[in-house]
């Protein structure tokens, strides 16, 4: 006891260089390995994951997998019902529905991924700054977030896309710029609670610089809820893209997207319901898969959950 007091008074606490720190070999399973095990026990989540992996593979290998070029016109073969030559039929100008569906996966999944990346960047920045610095900065940023939050999401996306034009990049931008508020609030809330925790005070009292505290202590502990939120954000983004295409603000024709296929099919729903049915079911299944994965991740990443 006495020695430690003298040590403290005689020399300033020195932060040990990273190399000197003895890191004990991990004997216990970490949170994420544990979560992964729990996730694998959840049948619906595994099914969702399998479908998502399948969709991603389809999107990557679309050129190899699709039976025809998605924009190839088959003259005299409009509105063909599903048969051996066209497994899912053809559309109003005689294009193969299956091929378009396969290529449409690229649009939907790239929207899904890039929008979440954008949301992650904005949400982490705003929520992180607000939560870490607190005080007046926090107050202003959160009021700003509140005002943003009050704008109806879908409406905002529609207006932005109408204003800046509907290239696929603009669609990413519009959906991302509108939907980051949830994540910013989540990140801020996580940081505010984590900041007061003992291990963070310990790190701070050892003299760890702010970036190290953020990267080593705060973010890894806040990651669980963020991952869950981003997973739930994917079906939302896919839906928004489909709605945009459906009301004529989506990717430009002839690019195949699930929403635009539904929009075209809607005009021929009496004569060729298959044109609507297949893309609609595909969208629903993809969204369901991400929701299942999100539910599974939420249950798996909750440390209180000992199922």
């Amino acid at each position: 006891m006495a020695t430690s007091t003298t040590a403290l008074t005689t020399e300033a606490p020195r932060r040990p260089a990273d190399a000197e720190v003895y890191v004990p070999p991990r004997t216990s399973r970490g949170l994420y390995r544990d979560a992964w095990r729990r996730l694998l026990r959840n049948k619906l989540a595994v099914a969702g994951m399998a479908l998502i992996v399948f969709m991603i593979l389809v999107a990557i290998f679309a050129d190899v997998l699709s039976p025809y070029d998605p924009n190839r016109l088959f003259p005299g073969q409009s509105y063909v019902r599903p048969d051996a030559e066209h497994l899912l039929g053809t559309d109003d100008v005689g294009r193969d529905v299956l091929s378009r569906l396969i290529h449409g996966a690229r649009v939907s999944l790239s929207v899904a991924i890039f929008v979440q990346l954008l949301i992650l960047c904005i949400g982490l920045a705003v929520g992180g700054i607000a939560g870490f610095f607190g005080g007046r900065v926090d107050n202003w940023l959160m009021r700003f977030t509140d005002v943003f939050y009050a704008f109806p999401d879908l409406l905002f996306v529609i207006i932005i896309t109408a204003a800046i034009g509907s290239s696929i990049f603009n669609i990413f931008l519009a959906i991302g710029l509108v939907n980051w508020t949830d994540l910013a609030r989540l990140v801020r809330g996580q940081l505010l609670t984590l900041r007061e925790r003992d291990f963070v005070s310990a790190a701070r009292s050892l003299g760890a610089p702010a970036p190290r505290i953020i990267l080593q202590h705060l973010l890894p502990n806040a990651a669980g809820p963020i991952i869950v939120r981003l997973t739930y954000g994917v079906p939302q983004a896919i839906f928004t893209e489909a709605v945009l295409s459906f009301i004529g603000l989506g990717v430009r024709p002839p690019t195949a997207s699930w929403g635009s296929m539904i929009e075209r099919g809607n005009q021929a729903i009496f004569s060729a319901p298959h044109m609507v049915l297949f893309p609609a079911v595909t969208i629903a299944l993809t969204m369901l898969a991400f929701n299942f994965l999100g539910d599974g991740l939420r249950d798996a990443l909750d440390p209180q959950n000992t199922r």
Binding site: A163, V243, A280
Partner: protein
């Protein structure tokens, strides 16, 4: 409490200013003007039209002119309909959107809440699993996908109801179900989770131990507490229904505000877009306000500064 309500009402002002400013700015950077038609219009006519609708003034003046009208309930002239103002056009569509939303909300509450309660009371029964399946599937299926599936099944295959249109009672069925079932599913999940959560609380065990009748137990202790989280989601649900009606109106050709908005976008009718966006924002902001205040009355545990 009164201070809280006043603060919440004052909060509407910056929100609506932000919404109008953003919408106005976006509309002004939009490529293409309202006079872009297939036929080229003589430049003199365009100049006259611009002068008539104040489009030749600087943007900030246009915004001020517009907002001073909005405060007086005048949403400006429509660029595409010569004979009616935007206020008239929107008031024409509003009853349809409102009744669609109201019926859908009714469907959501009348299906979702009872189903959630029954599922929780009979936990792990077949009924519970069916309710869970309903809750999971319908919450994930996007409204317009559900809409088309319903059209294909009930209108095209079974010929029970018409595919589109508005006015007759049988034309209400599909749009209302399309909009309502999704939120019914959400309510089922929330109600079930909330009832289960409350039924595990200590005061429930105490009430049961003192021999309270099952009926009174459920009514007085269980439901009263379990409904609090359900009430909180009513606000987001109504907001969703209003925005969701935008999609549903366009699937089923319902002549409501959402359809007007989409028409406005394709015709570059700035004032129609502004007007309907502002209306949506006002309605949603007011709904959220009402729900927040209601919530303060319902849950005495929460204190408001």
């Amino acid at each position: 409490m009164t201070r809280y309500i006043i603060r919440r009402i004052l909060w509407l002002i910056p929100v609506l200013l932000f919404v109008s400013l953003i919408t106005f700015t976006l509309m002004h950077i939009t490529p293409g003007g309202p006079w872009d038609k297939e036929k080229a219009v003589a430049p003199q006519i365009v100049a006259n039209l611009n002068a008539k609708y104040n489009l030749d003034k600087p943007a900030w003046q246009q915004y001020l002119i517009y907002m001073s009208g909005v405060v007086r309930g005048d949403l400006g002239p429509s660029y595409t309909y010569q004979d009616r103002s935007v206020t008239q056009i929107i008031l024409g569509g509003l009853p349809n959107t409102a009744s669609l939303g109201a019926f859908a909300a009714l469907v959501a509450v009348l299906i979702g809440v009872p189903l959630g309660i029954i599922a929780a009371m009979r936990q792990n029964s077949g009924l519970d699993y069916s309710a869970l399946a309903f809750g999971t599937i319908f919450a994930s299926v996007p409204t317009f996908v559900l809409g088309f599936v319903l059209i294909i099944v009930f209108a095209l295959t079974l010929h029970l109801v018409p595919t589109s249109g508005w006015g007759k009672p049988n034309q209400y069925v599909l749009p209302v179900l399309t909009l309502g079932l999704n939120q019914a599913a959400l309510l089922t999940r929330i109600t079930r989770a909330s009832v289960l959560d409350v039924s595990r609380q200590d005061f429930m065990r105490t009430a049961r131990a003192k021999g309270l009748q099952e009926f009174l137990l459920v009514r007085r202790h269980l439901l009263k507490n379990a409904m609090i989280p359900v009430v909180t989601v009513i606000g987001p649900i109504l907001a969703f229904l209003i925005v969701g009606s935008l999609v549903v109106e366009n699937i089923f050709s319902v002549p409501g505000v959402g359809r007007l908005l989409v028409q406005g976008i394709s015709q570059r009718d700035y004032s129609l877009i502004m007007g309907s966006t502002l209306l949506y924002a006002v309605v949603i902001a007011i709904l959220n306000l009402v729900v927040d205040i209601l919530y303060a009355f319902i849950d005495p545990r929460i204190s408001y500064r």
